[in-house]
């Protein structure tokens, strides 16, 4: 079964359940592909031996009544994994071996999966191109020298290149959906509070949310089912009963109202994206949904708001890295303060330092009201825009990103142009609502482009159904020349 690694997660699960293939065979096929990761650089840590051991153990006594029986999964290196180095893409944590497991990964292992490796990402998830990682940039399997997006760039790249059957990322301002869009894969940012944040290296706690990254919408439903759930250890975890997203998946979206926000049509957007958006509308209509024009008037203020709120929260979250309890410590300096200053200066990269400085400034005495409180007010307005719209529509359709994947280095020296990548994804995080990106076409370079569906709080099932119906009609086919294997 040479092409097994190209199959969807759902297909692999079904083959294992029917005992047509063993977990060890599956694991070894992915490990074989991982041997060609050198040019992609999507892995920070390989767990090949651990995975084979786990697979053999599974095969000896297969427990098949789980969601992910015997499935090897590589995860973003932002999830703490017990006994396995967890770096967050930073020099600061290059030597950090957690002695606890994040709730999300624990949930996956409880469903029969096991760890295949830890995937590259932007440092502390701060970036949109995976160029800020201490472990080097990641390349997009779509084309050499092209970014996979970020911050879950290693996850997207490894998934698209068939190095893992599925993966998980985190999304603070688009970090799952933008790389999914750039690599022709599916990515879901769940409702804030649906997936536990416990054991995930924190970036901006009121925005961070873990989510699945998969090859198909069906896989996405299956993974969300395994990940979601109440967690006592996360104070913002939502108490609700488990849902069977994959079992309840349906193509029937007849009568649903889908909003098209006029503010998402931005200047300079490639015309292929406009075409893609039109095609999305057409497919929805054919499926019996109703298209309604809506307005989200404060959309243009979402990014400026985000670049106050996220750095503010990051600056306080990252205050813990002081070289005392864990992580890197500089040996320069003669007193405690100098030790702190040198540790943080040498341990953090430029983008992380930049955001800590922005955050420190907007929270500092005399500026707090003008920046932070102002941003929280505008955040309320952005949330109100969505609340108003969802009185009229079931979901909202937008492009996922304003462009396709770009070249490595192209935007590195201009932070604003880099930040603009997240213009369509950031409002969702500010409002705490769910959104999914699915591959929907290509630009004139043949690089994938995504469409995004935005839903109401805890309306993941409806979002998945809409994405499922549209995915089927678009029938996007990834066509990679596998340059990284040559």
């Amino acid at each position: 079964m040479a092409d097994l690694t190209k199959k969807s997660l759902t297909e692999i699960v079904s083959l294992i359940k029917k005992k047509e293939i063993k977990s060890e065979e599956v694991t070894n096929l992915f490990i074989k592909n991982i041997k060609n990761d050198k040019k992609l650089n999507s892995f920070i840590t390989n767990c090949n031996e651990h995975a084979v051991k786990k697979a053999k153990k599974f095969d000896k006594n297969p427990k098949l009544d789980t969601l992910l029986p015997g499935i090897p999964i590589a995860v973003k290196d932002l999830f703490c994994t017990e006994g396995v180095k967890t770096t967050a893409g930073s020099k600061m944590l290059d030597n950090f071996i957690p002695n606890y497991e994040s709730t999300i990964t624990k949930n996956l292992w409880n469903e029969g999966a096991f760890l295949l490796g830890k995937l590259n990402c932007d440092e502390y998830a701060m970036g949109s191109s995976n160029e800020t990682s201490f472990f080097g940039n990641v390349m997009n399997p779509v084309a050499e020298n092209t970014v996979p997006g970020g911050s879950s760039g290693g996850s997207a790249s490894a998934l698209a290149a068939d190095l893992t059957p599925t993966t998980i990322g985190t999304d603070t301002g688009g970090s799952i959906r933008q790389p999914a869009s750039f690599t022709g894969t599916v990515g879901l940012k769940p409702t804030y509070g649906l997936c536990s944040r416990w054991g995930i290296v924190a970036f901006a706690s009121s925005l961070d949310q873990a989510g699945p990254m998969t090859k198909t919408v069906e896989d996405c439903a299956l993974m969300l089912e395994a990940m979601a759930g109440f967690d006592e250890k996360d104070s913002t975890s939502i108490k609700k009963k488990k849902e069977n997203y994959s079992k309840n998946l349906t193509y029937n979206i007849k009568g649903l109202k889908i909003g098209i926000p006029k503010e998402y049509r931005v200047d300079g957007m490639p015309k292929e994206i406009d075409k893609l958006w039109e095609n999305g509308k057409k497919i929805l209509k054919e499926s019996g949904a109703e298209i309604i024009d809506i307005s989200l008037p404060n959309t243009k203020y979402a990014l400026p708001t985000y670049y106050i709120v996220a750095p503010a929260e990051a600056s306080s979250n990252l205050a813990r890295y002081d070289g005392v309890k864990y992580g890197f410590r500089s040996n320069k300096g003669t007193n405690l303060i100098e030790m702190y200053e040198n540790t943080r200066s040498e341990g953090f990269g430029d983008e992380v330092k930049r955001r800590i400085l922005i955050g420190t400034h907007v929270l500092s005495s005399g500026y707090y009201d003008a920046y932070y409180i102002k941003a929280q007010k505008v955040r309320q307005l952005i949330k109100n825009d969505f609340d108003e719209s969802f009185k009229k529509v079931d979901a909202i359709l937008t492009p996922s990103t304003p462009s396709a994947a770009f070249k490595i280095g192209e935007k590195k020296n201009d932070p604003i142009s880099m930040y603009l990548n997240d213009i369509f994804t950031v409002p969702v995080n500010l409002a705490g609502i769910p959104a999914i990106s699915i591959p929907a076409g290509t630009d004139n370079n043949n690089y994938p482009l995504g469409l995004q569906f935005i839903g109401k709080t805890l309306d993941e099932q409806k979002l998945l159904n809409i994405a499922f119906a549209v995915e089927k009609k678009i029938n996007f086919k990834q066509n990679l020349n596998r340059w990284w294997e040559k």
Binding site: P304, A319, G327, E338, F348, K353, L357
Partner: protein
């Protein structure tokens, strides 16, 4: 507001990050353009808007005031860059 070199030095002191003198100029330029970008918010009148305090519709839970872990001292010390028996070690703070 404008960001100048002194501002950068002050904020980096607050953030406990030493900034390389050679990099200050570049950083000043970057932060100035970022602050210009975020100050677009000033176009909006928000006098009558309450700042968002939580994105959840429910109030934050508080946990029971009880001990539910403990006896993990050695585990916690495992990752420390420098330790002495059961203590974290830092450079001398008292002369």
């Amino acid at each position: 507001m404008s960001i100048d070199k002194d501002k950068i030095k002050h904020v980096s002191k607050l953030a406990r990050i030493s900034v390389d003198e050679k990099k200050i100029e570049h950083l000043t330029k970057d932060l100035s353009s970022i602050f210009k970008f975020i100050e677009q918010l000033n176009e909006l009148n928000t006098d009558k808007v309450e700042p968002l305090s939580s994105i959840l519709n429910e109030p934050l839970r508080s946990r029971k005031d009880e001990i539910n872990d403990g006896k993990i001292r050695d585990k916690i010390l495992e990752n420390s860059p420098k330790k002495n028996e059961e203590f974290f070690v830092v450079p001398k703070v008292i002369e």
